[in-house]
């Protein structure tokens, strides 16, 4: 079975090739099932190899299988071959195991995506690369996987490439990683230079038998550490990981939490004899970079509002713990935490994906709240993940983190103290996340600050408009009054004329008018006057009404202006109650109503099943390494052949261990309690914790971007300008100079063959003379 180790990466590779050719034809969901089956088969193969390995005696648990010579050049020769040992198979187990679950999950998560099949093609290629990374029997093959996972990470982060931000995030991840890769490459060169080979078996055996000089060991280890910092997102090369959250959430879970980002820790664990031979300051440096990054990232996670950003910084922080473990010689603890972290962080990411899926793509935790009733499975499993990461016994994270802290104490109490503070912060920010998401008030339908502000603006605009309309109305009715008054006067004059006509003596020689006609005219005129007067009254009444309306409008406007000015600031996070919007209810944008009608929903079984499996693993994975007795330290025994006895031996008394464990538990509980007090009970003002400097991640990213966009770009521009003006300018200048000279020289070109012949002759003589002189004749 050990010879069949090649099957482990072969399945994902076959899946990748198959999907590349037939993926489009298969479509949804078949492409997803094929990809999942490939990884599941790979997991089965890994199990087979694992069982075979356990059946061997401890000393035989290392085998190398060579497939073919990859790059044989001169003294340098590298095969495509696999190194099977407890470390590589442990990695394979959780890569394929967690990988298969995340593939299954993606079938549901990526439902309806236009590039559905492409997603699974990339995902299979990623798993293949990751397996090459851990199974490679030499540094170059690890580097192949290393770069391969980087490329897949790039492709998957910028998967939704229509958005520039996603595209930038992918590019940033690749380029930042390449800085680390520089170190990895130099380390390979130095290893080859030193050993004449880069096969792990030979290099590590030679090193473990004490044949490596300290200075060389230090150089190689430092360079690999630089590589590890890039891939595993440690300070200062962590900047790409938070941005990497732009990718689909299963990608964040698989690549940017469970597997790829742990490559750095794998690499350092793999070459542990070299670290053991390196100068003492190196492990100390690794430990401090690790624990420093852990604390740094944890402080940032406290103030993030994007559910995935919290988990991203949390991942950086947890990876810091693993570096702390490596630096303190606790390789078993590093691998232990790598495994438990793979379970609980994959669980948390997938859970957050399920939440995002259920919440219509919204990633802002301030818009969540109370989801435990709407997403029962997601919330239950997420809570398991939370308890695991927060270090609550007996969940897995407690055991692995406790072991790391123990070794940190063993090395230096200062390291322990920083790690302990980080643990408190971890418990705090994870509790905050759980409360904001699953507990408290359901806030999704709330009007949001910007919507309320917009509503107020609309409301004030409407009030102003009402005033204007009322004003215009007054003008209009006033005109009507005047017109009516004029009409009434006209009617009176007509009446007077009619009366005069009725009483007047007929003129000489004229027939007297018919008195009846005259009387009728008078009557008609009288009627007209009455009706005109009535109109005047009506118009005046209308005017009065308009004036009242106007006054009311003005008053209403004033009220609105006043209440707009006096209205309480709407908090971004409305923990206690929904913001009061009664006054502007009519002006709220339609989205608010839409959100109120939206029903958050639990995800399909393809998504919840992986959550349940991972939750079980996250809860129970501690059993693989329990501190109570040597026989319970199963992982330690298992990894022994890969560690060359470089695992540090604890010199801590049992009583101290118990005290440290209790202190750690107390710290975790303290973190949880404070978060509950702030976000659930609202006894403590949460804005105390969410400082803007933390929300802005200590402004490191911004400053780096400013530098790259400013002086960095300017330097590049200057170089390009130098190329154009100076380097090329010199060429063109020479060209022009020759042209001008040619104008002069043209005089010699007089067409006389004699002149040319003379020139050639003189030249030839000079040339010959030179030859003779040089050759000493």
């Amino acid at each position: 079975m050990l010879d069949l180790v090649w099957l482990i990466p072969a399945f994902p590779l076959a899946g990748f090739l198959f999907l590349m050719i037939f993926g489009r034809r298969l479509g949804e969901p078949k492409a997803g099932w094929v990809a999942t089956a490939a990884i599941a088969a790979s997991f089965a193969a890994t199990l087979g190899v694992f069982l075979e390995l356990t059946s061997l005696s401890v000393h035989d648990r290392r085998s190398v299988t060579t497939l073919f010579a990859w790059v044989p050049a001169g003294d340098f020769s590298v095969d495509v071959g696999f190194l099977v040992d407890p470390l590589s198979i442990t990695m394979c187990l959780f890569i394929t195991g967690v990988g298969a679950l995340i593939h299954l999950y993606s079938i549901g998560y990526m439902h309806g995506d236009r590039d559905y099949n492409k997603f699974f093609t990339y995902l299979n290629l990623f798993v293949f690369s990751m397996l090459m990374l851990v199974l490679g029997n030499n540094m170059l093959l690890t580097f192949l996987g290393w770069e391969g996972v980087g490329a897949c990470s790039y492709l998957l982060i910028s998967f939704w490439f229509d958005d520039e931000a996603n595209a930038s995030a992918g590019k940033k991840a690749f380029v930042t990683n390449r800085i680390g890769d520089w170190g990895f490459m130099v380390a390979i060169f130095a290893t080859f230079f030193t050993f004449g080979t880069i096969n792990y078996a030979e290099v590590l055996d030679a090193t473990a038998s004490g044949q490596l000089l300290q200075s060389t060991a230090t150089l190689i280890a430092v360079m690999l550490f630089i590589g590890a910092i890039g891939k595993s997102a440690q300070f200062p090369l962590y900047l790409w990981l938070p941005d990497a959250m732009a990718g689909p959430t299963p990608v964040s879970a698989l690549i940017h939490a469970a597997t790829m980002v742990t490559s750095g820790i794998y690499l350092l664990t793999r070459i542990n004899p070299i670290i053991a031979d390196a100068a003492d300051w190196l492990p100390t440096l690794i430990a401090w970079v690790g624990v420093g990054t852990a604390l740094f990232a944890a402080t940032i996670a406290v103030a993030q509002t994007d559910i995935k950003k919290v988990l991203a910084y949390s991942t950086v922080s947890q990876l810091g713990y693993m570096f702390l473990a490596v630096g303190t010689g606790a390789y078993v603890a590093a691998v232990f935490h790598m495994i438990t972290h793979a379970f609980f962080k994959a669980l948390l990411f997938l859970g957050s994906g399920s939440v995002i899926h259920g919440m219509d793509g919204d990633q802002d935790m301030r818009h969540y709240g109370g989801l435990r009733r709407l997403l029962p499975i997601t919330s239950a499993t997420f809570i398991v993940g939370w308890l695991a990461i927060a270090g609550v016994p007996p969940f897995s994270g407690f055991w692995s983190k406790d072991e790391i802290l123990l070794f940190a104490w063993n090395e230096s109490p200062a390291l322990w103290a920083v790690g302990f503070v980080t643990a408190i912060l971890t418990a705090f920010y994870m509790t905050r996340q759980v409360i904001l998401t699953f507990f408290g008030r359901y806030r999704f339908g709330d009007a949001r600050p910007e919507e309320i502000a917009a509503a107020w603006e609309a409301c004030l605009a409407a009030a102003t408009e009402a005033v204007d309309t009322a004003g215009a109305d007054i003008d209009k009715t006033r005109t009507t009054v005047e017109a009516a008054t004029t009409a009434a006067e006209t009617a009176r004059m007509a009446l007077a004329e009619a009366q005069a006509a009725a009483t007047a003596e007929p003129l000489e020689g004229q027939e007297p008018a018919d008195p009846e006609v005259l009387a009728a005219a008078v009557l008609a005129a009288e009627d007209a006057v009455v009706s005109a007067d009535q109109k005047v009254v009506e118009a005046e009444r209308a005017l009065a009404a308009a004036e009242v309306t106007y006054a009311e409008a003005v008053e209403a406007h004033e009220t609105h202006v006043r209440s707009a000015a006096d209205r309480p600031a709407v908090p971004e996070l409305a923990l206690a109650a929904a913001p009061d919007t009664t006054e502007v209810a009519d002006h709220l944008p339609a989205e608010v109503a839409q959100r109120n009608e939206y029903h958050a929903h639990e995800s399909p079984w393809t998504m919840t099943l992986p959550l349940v499996v991972l939750a079980v693993a996250a809860a129970t994975a501690g059993v693989m390494q329990l501190p109570f007795s040597p026989s319970l330290k199963r992982l330690e025994h298992w990894l022994e052949p890969s560690l060359f006895g470089n695992e540090v031996h604890l010199s801590v008394a049992t009583s101290t261990m118990w005290i440290l464990a209790l202190v750690a538990i107390a710290g975790g509980i303290a973190g949880i309690t404070v978060a509950i007090a702030a976000y659930q009970k609202r006894k403590v003002d949460y804005t105390m914790f969410e400082r803007s400097i933390l929300a802005e991640a200590w402004q490191v990213d911004r400053r780096v971007s400013d530098f790259m966009g400013g002086p960095g770009t300017a330097g590049f521009e200057a170089t390009a300008g130098f190329d154009q003006r100076v380097v090329d300018g010199a060429v063109n200048g020479t060209g022009r100079l020759v042209q001008r000279l040619a104008q002069e020289v043209r005089r010699f070109q007089n067409g006389l063959v004699r002149t040319y012949a003379a020139g050639i002759g003189v030249g030839a003589v000079l040339l010959l003379l030179w030859f003779f002189m040089r050759s000493g004749i």
Partner: protein
């Protein structure tokens, strides 16, 4: 067995190497005399000719003896030409030139099939065939005069290809290309003549321009050889081009038609790097060793400088052109590392750069045909409208970035490895080039293919079947050479080893820098000393 007969070069009487050179010229002549009424025949004849040449190059690859005499020249063909002057018609091929010949054989049909000229078909196909013959001549000649003639002949067709069928500023670019490279090689002619005369003088033998004779004799005084080396080196440095002699390249590449760019980048730049190996290291081992630090430095500068300038280009084709400056910096670095890994890496990089950069130029050409612009700022979101093109571009780009598993990595890695064993500080700086190549290529890709597609970009059509077929062989090579470079390296190695032995033999005190190999590291105090001095 007919197979063994076929595989054994000594029993073959067909002069395949001269044929590689003459068939294209014959094809060019045929194109010239074809009836004007049948323009479609021009292309047919040209393609058939180049495919014939490709077939012959494959046959050479197949029949190349990897067992006996694999370290020397094979398929030798000697005819006296001008006996009085010692100029002969002399051809041979070894592991150093083998894959450049095959690369030439493969790239010409691709270039011919990729695009059709807008006008003057007859001249277009004629010049391209002349170019192929000239390039073959450079790679196959073992006579200095013959080599020089071919080295210069290739300028003429390329001048016309750029000047007549090029883009906007083509006259300027063509003239600059011609004058610059011509000026560079003028001194080489003087060097060749001087070398032959001095050699004849020193050995007392008849005048000869035969490369092997002169190189094996190493008859010149050290100082003289260094001067003549510089005359050769200048010609090659311009051709490669090495910083700071590179500025003809972005103009020529950018203004050349697609087929011209493909040939220019794919094979013509290799005339310079090949020249360094064959007529630099082999002919002047001492001088090459003496001047190595200069070239190593210029190589490193080229790697970093080319990448930085490439990053700032607004024109996609210019960007690819500057990326060539960086990639060729690697080749120079590996060449002057003067060890097996470095030189084999350089040879691989020559082939790989030929494949990857040709593919990039083809892709940029295809974008230009559709969008009539190469300005990065006017493109965007093309992955949405042309997903297959984007996928192909991604693979080629990753190859150019040097992703392991694809071809670009193997060469780059071996170069850096070889350089590290010899000159670690140069290697450590040069390795930074891999960061920069990722930066400028991914940035360009993002601006061209990612983001929202608007206007004409949203309407752009994807690859046609013909375009796909043109790119397919290059993609196959990109993957094959990345996964299984062994057959290529195996065929190179004897010749490279022979070259290094030659240098070791003729350079006093020089030994190929080797690794410590072995496990008794503790027992080597002088190594210990070096080690501490370097690392602490």
């Amino acid at each position: 067995m007919s197979f063994s007969l076929l595989a054994s070069a000594s029993t073959v009487t067909f002069p395949v190497l001269p044929a590689l050179l003459l068939v294209p010229f014959a094809g060019a002549l045929l194109v010239m005399v074809l009836p004007r009424q049948r323009p479609e025949l021009f292309k047919l004849v040209a393609v058939l000719t180049s495919v014939t040449v490709m077939g012959m190059s494959f046959w050479v690859l197949y029949a190349f003896d990897t067992q006996h005499g694999a370290d020397g020249f094979q398929f030798l063909s000697n005819q006296t030409w001008i006996a009085d002057l010692g100029i002969s018609w002399s051809f041979g091929i070894d592991g150093i030139s083998l894959f450049l010949v095959v690369l030439t054989g493969v790239l010409f049909p691709i270039a011919l099939l990729a695009t059709d000229p807008a006008h003057d078909n007859r001249a277009w196909y004629g010049w391209l065939l002349v170019l192929e013959g000239g390039v073959m001549g450079v790679f196959l000649s073992l006579d200095l005069v013959m080599f020089f003639i071919c080295f210069e002949v290739v300028l003429v067709p390329m001048y016309f290809l750029i000047g007549r069928w090029g883009h906007g500023n083509r006259t300027y670019a063509a003239t600059k290309f011609f004058l610059y490279t011509m000026a560079g090689s003028a001194l080489m002619l003087v060097g060749i003549v001087a070398l032959a005369f001095l050699h004849a003088d020193a050995t007392g033998g008849p005048l000869t321009f035969n490369l092997i004779e002169i190189a094996e004799a190493q008859s010149l005084a050290t100082g003289t050889a260094r001067w003549i080396f510089l005359a050769f080196a200048l010609a090659f440095a311009v051709k490669v081009p090495i910083f700071p002699l590179h500025t003809w390249l972005p103009d020529a590449h950018t203004e050349a038609p697609t087929a011209g760019s493909v040939i220019l980048a794919g094979v013509m730049l290799k005339l310079g790097t090949y020249g360094f190996l064959r007529f630099g290291l082999y002919l002047f081992p001492e001088a090459s060793h003496y001047f190595a630090p200069v070239f190593l430095t210029l190589g490193v500068v080229g790697i970093i400088y080319g990448a930085v300038v490439a990053a700032m280009q607004g024109d996609l084709k210019r960007l690819v052109a500057y990326s060539s400056v960086a990639h060729l910096g690697f080749i120079i670095l590996g060449t002057f590392a003067l060890n097996t890994e470095g030189i084999e890496g350089s040879l691989l990089q020559m082939v790989n750069h030929g494949v990857s950069t040709s593919a990039l130029f083809l892709l940029v050409g295809m974008i230009y045909e559709r969008r009539h612009t190469r300005q990065i700022s006017e493109l965007g979101g093309l992955q949405r409208s042309a997903p297959i093109m984007a996928a192909v571009f991604t693979v080629v780009m990753l190859s150019s970035i040097g992703l392991p598993g694809l071809n670009g990595f193997v060469g780059e890695f071996l170069i850096l490895l070889g350089t590290f064993t010899a000159h670690r500080w140069w290697a450590m700086v040069a390795t930074a080039g891999v960061v920069l190549s990722a930066l400028y290529l991914l940035w360009a890709y993002q601006r061209v293919f990612h983001g929202p597609a608007e206007g004409d970009n949203a309407e752009m059509s994807d690859l046609t079947l013909r375009e796909g077929l043109v790119l397919a062989p290059l993609l196959v090579l990109i993957i094959f050479m990345g996964v299984y470079p062994r057959p290529v390296i195996e065929r190179m190695e004897p010749a490279v080893d022979a070259l290094i032995e030659h240098i070791e033999f003729h350079v006093e005190g020089f030994h190929e820098p080797v690794t410590r190999g072995g496990v008794d590291l503790g027992d080597a105090p002088e190594v210990e000393h070096t080690d501490e001095g370097e690392h602490e």
